[in-house]
Point group: C2
Chain length 533, copies 2
């Protein structure tokens, strides 16, 4: 893998970024939105300008071959990709940098790191691709003297596809495998995991499982949870290996306790995952609706019809405009069926009937590959490329972030309006200007959608984190008060803790803490994530 | 509900049983199988002949209105419906009878019972319909003096459908609701849970959730797990209520820790469940295959095609013969699609192509309602009626039982042969005669089937439990050695503990024990189920 290393600041790998054309598009939208021509600009420090505290511990000789205290390694493992992460990076604040980054090659290394960390009283932060947007990979030592140092455990060197079972369509893959690499290894077998979160290129199987990542499929297999057949997890007390089972009823699912545990119970070193045959048949297109709620009603009909499209995202008119998928007058549904087995005319025809019942009209493009062209293609491109824009927009004080949730259908419309209004008001209060709040659905279920909110505001250097916090808090307060979840697929980390703590039943918190004490008695792993250390 | 009470011995309600015609069919099959004409016969004691120890505790005055120490209540709550339960009932062994049975009317009653049980040092056994086949509802006091008495908590008076949300297709239902009653309440709304375990008439929503029950749908929504939107559970430390969420990524799922907890963590008092519109469209039939493995290969193709039939069970030739669904020369697939939304020709046509690719031929019947007639209908009838036969066959010392598992496709054929051979050998060893071991699939997944084994042997009164135990142990030893799960949907209870303990990762057991200590610190609930008290 002779690809460039991941950036220490920004999205993706060194040398990657948005093109001048993309940047022009983004700035045109921003100028139009805020009617601002001039932006104060702050530049992030170069790597060699970043100041890091001296490492507080030294790795033992036995771990020296896999340990680094190099500037790049420490800086690149200080943050994830959340908005406040970018702000602190912009300001050159790297106080949270790990003392040491270790790159285990196998489970023995992982166990050795955990043993040493216990002896050294070091916290251990598991790290996959570092794409967390919730403060999930930031090293921590509390102020109480419990931890003397912070170690980040990066799984990137455990990236093998170990076994492929073509008959059962499953593969055993190491936790540190990045999306593109694992797909490349599955391709010769005619198989694919087809789990494509927005971070696909820069995130790992273990990270997806630890955070209950949401992927490509808008219905049915929405989360990685459903694609996990079994797990191997190394805890400070030893390894847990679950059986490869297509289904089971033997007590509470061990996998389901570990999936979503965000690194606080153990390190996911391997998983057997369920694969698909690569799709040959496709049907799809973009459907225009007079409004977001009519599109939502059509989508409810599709979700409750048992048709299970691979894609059926809807964008509100403003979000369609912002991404280039629409002209701002219509909501857009990106609809696609795919199959390795059979033609999809009957499925697509019925879904389009559901759309027409709610005034939805298929956009002309019409070809079988419409989902790669036209409005759907433009949206898809924006989805993949826009994360690169943020490292540029933040230099000029633009506030933009997202939060995502799920809610049952009968509450959706009022919930949407309440969350949007609260977030818009918070933007006005925090910045003194009108901002913009848009919504799309990323996934849908028979009993409700997963709405995904994006906000844009013109911020002020020197106050960006406070402004961001006020806006995001108002949105999440409304989400929690309205009955939603603090996160549908972005995870909890530390940033979502205040709302997660309100959502999570208190006695479940106690059960989870008890489980953590059983597996991580010295609380080495990810202190402060999900529960208090 | 002026229906007769549940039998204290046998399947179903008082007055119910197999018809003379059904009994003649059963005995013809048994005589043919074992070439035995005469069977020693033992009759179970009448209710008034059963000896019960005097209750070791008295309910407090406040609970007196909902508590019973009557002979019927205590006898009818001594056992579930496992084979050794029947044997002990036949022998009049009611030593395990609870001291008191309480019938809470609401959550306050449940909490009051738990508080009193703690003070009285009584174990508490949650009881739904009592259809456990794994020793899950038998009251226990250990021999170590930890418990002074045993209280059974029967949820039958908490059976309301509290709310129906037609928009999201969900309903909030109390844990003690029996299958037919909850379906009757949903019907006027045009909705159905469509969760039909074999015990449907005599089991409850709370019981289904506590045991990860498997239902009607052979693909996709196979377990009740998938139909649970949220839960209310009363633990000895208070109530846990989870949010109604179509999907979530906020930490490990609280629901998934409680689903399958088999009463050891708390009492499931309410759940929001996901419903379906009642199906209007159906397509289906019975497909004959030259052998069980060819049928399995066809089913793998269907399961991996993304067609999601509601039913696609296969029976091996002997099981087809035993249930009247076949003549013993062919394996039978019972195939059915159903939808409230759209005609199913395209789905059925493709599934039949998968069958033809593996030499499967659709049986003539052919009509749209073929799944209710012909081979499929005969199988379905046997599925519902045969549990009534056992209370008759056991009187004559017939050994018959089932065990069920799941396994990935690539291991299935060798696994099947190994489990079958081990069980057949154990029958020979235990009884000195040839027996019979048959297999069907109850549910299928893209990565593997859920095989369900049935065995028949001619036993000997006086040694039935030992013979049963030797046979079932041999089968489950082979299941666990072969990589399967000890149970796909029958639960663990106490009977499956030795194999569950081998299957379950030891550190997960420790996490589960820790969670139990957090929620049930005095270990009141279901001692010995899933984990040691």
């Amino acid at each position: 893998m002779a690809q460039p290393r991941l950036k220490h600041f920004g999205w993706g790998r060194e040398g990657e970024g948005i093109t001048p054309e993309e940047e022009a598009f983004v700035w045109a939208r921003i100028r139009e939105r805020f009617r601002i021509d001039e932006f104060a600009e702050v530049k992030p420090p170069r790597l060699d300008e970043i100041e890091l505290h001296p490492p507080r511990v030294k790795p033992p000789t036995s771990l020296a071959p896999i340990a680094s205290t190099e500037r790049y390694d420490r800086a690149a493992h200080t943050y994830g990709k959340s908005y406040p992460d970018y702000v602190r990076g912009l300001l050159g604040d790297y106080a949270a940098a790990p003392d040491i980054v270790v790159y285990p090659r196998n489970e023995r290394d992982v166990a050795a790191v955990l043993d040493w960390a216990e002896a050294a009283q070091a916290s251990v932060t598991p790290f996959g691709g570092g794409s967390s947007v919730v403060g999930g990979v930031e090293p921590r030592i509390d102020g109480l003297g419990r931890y003397q140092a912070a170690v980040t455990l990066d799984l990137r060197d455990m990236h093998r596809v170990i076994e492929v079972d073509r008959t059962s369509r499953a593969a055993r893959i190491e936790g540190g495998a990045f999306g593109p690499a694992l797909e490349a290894e599955l391709k010769p077998h005619g198989l694919t995991l087809r789990h494509f979160p927005q971070s696909f290129e820069f995130s790992t199987l273990g990270g997806w499982i630890a955070t209950r990542s949401g992927g490509h499929f808008a219905t049915l297999y929405t989360h990685i949870d459903d694609l996990v057949e079994s797990l191997r997890v190394v805890t400070p007390r030893g390894a847990i290996e679950t059986r490869r089972l297509p289904g089971s009823g033997a007590g509470p699912s061990p996998d389901r306790l570990l999936i979503g545990s965000e690194g606080i119970l153990g390190i996911i070193t391997e998983a057997w995952v369920r694969l698909q045959a690569r799709p040959h048949f496709r049907a799809g297109g973009a459907v225009r609706f007079p409004g977001f709620f009519t599109a939502a009603r059509a989508l409810r009909a599709i979700a409750q019809a048992g048709l299970y499209p691979a894609n059926c995202r809807i964008l509100d008119p403003q979000e369609a405009y912002n991404t280039g998928a629409g002209d701002g007058t219509a909501a857009i549904m990106v609809l696609a069926f795919e199959s390795a087995d059979h033609p999809l005319e009957a499925w697509m025809a019925r879904a389009l009937e559901c759309c027409r019942d709610h005034a939805g009209e298929l956009e002309p493009a019409g070809a079988a590959d419409a989902h790669r062209e036209g409005a759907a293609g433009r949206w898809r491109n924006a989805f993949i490329r826009m994360p690169y824009a943020r490292e540029r927009t933040i230099e000029r004080g633009i506030l933009n972030d997202t939060f995502e949730t799920s809610i049952t259908w009968e509450r959706f419309e009022g919930f949407h309006d309440g969350v949007k209004a609260a977030t818009e008001q918070a933007i006005r209060d925090a910045t003194g200007h009108e901002g913009q709040v848009t919504c799309r659905f990323t996934h849908v279920y028979p009993d409700g959608p997963a709405p995904y909110f994006t906000f844009h505001a013109a911020g002020r250097h020197g106050g960006l984190i406070e402004q961001w916090h006020a806006i995001k808090s108002a949105g999440l307060d409304a989400v929690i008060a309205g009955g939603g979840t603090v996160t549908h697929h972005h995870a909890v980390g530390r940033d979502h803790r205040p709302w997660y703590d309100r959502q999570r039943p208190p006695l479940f918190a106690e059960a989870l803490k008890a489980a953590k004490r059983a597996l991580d008695p010295h609380s080495l792993l990810n202190p402060g994530v999900l529960i208090d250390a």
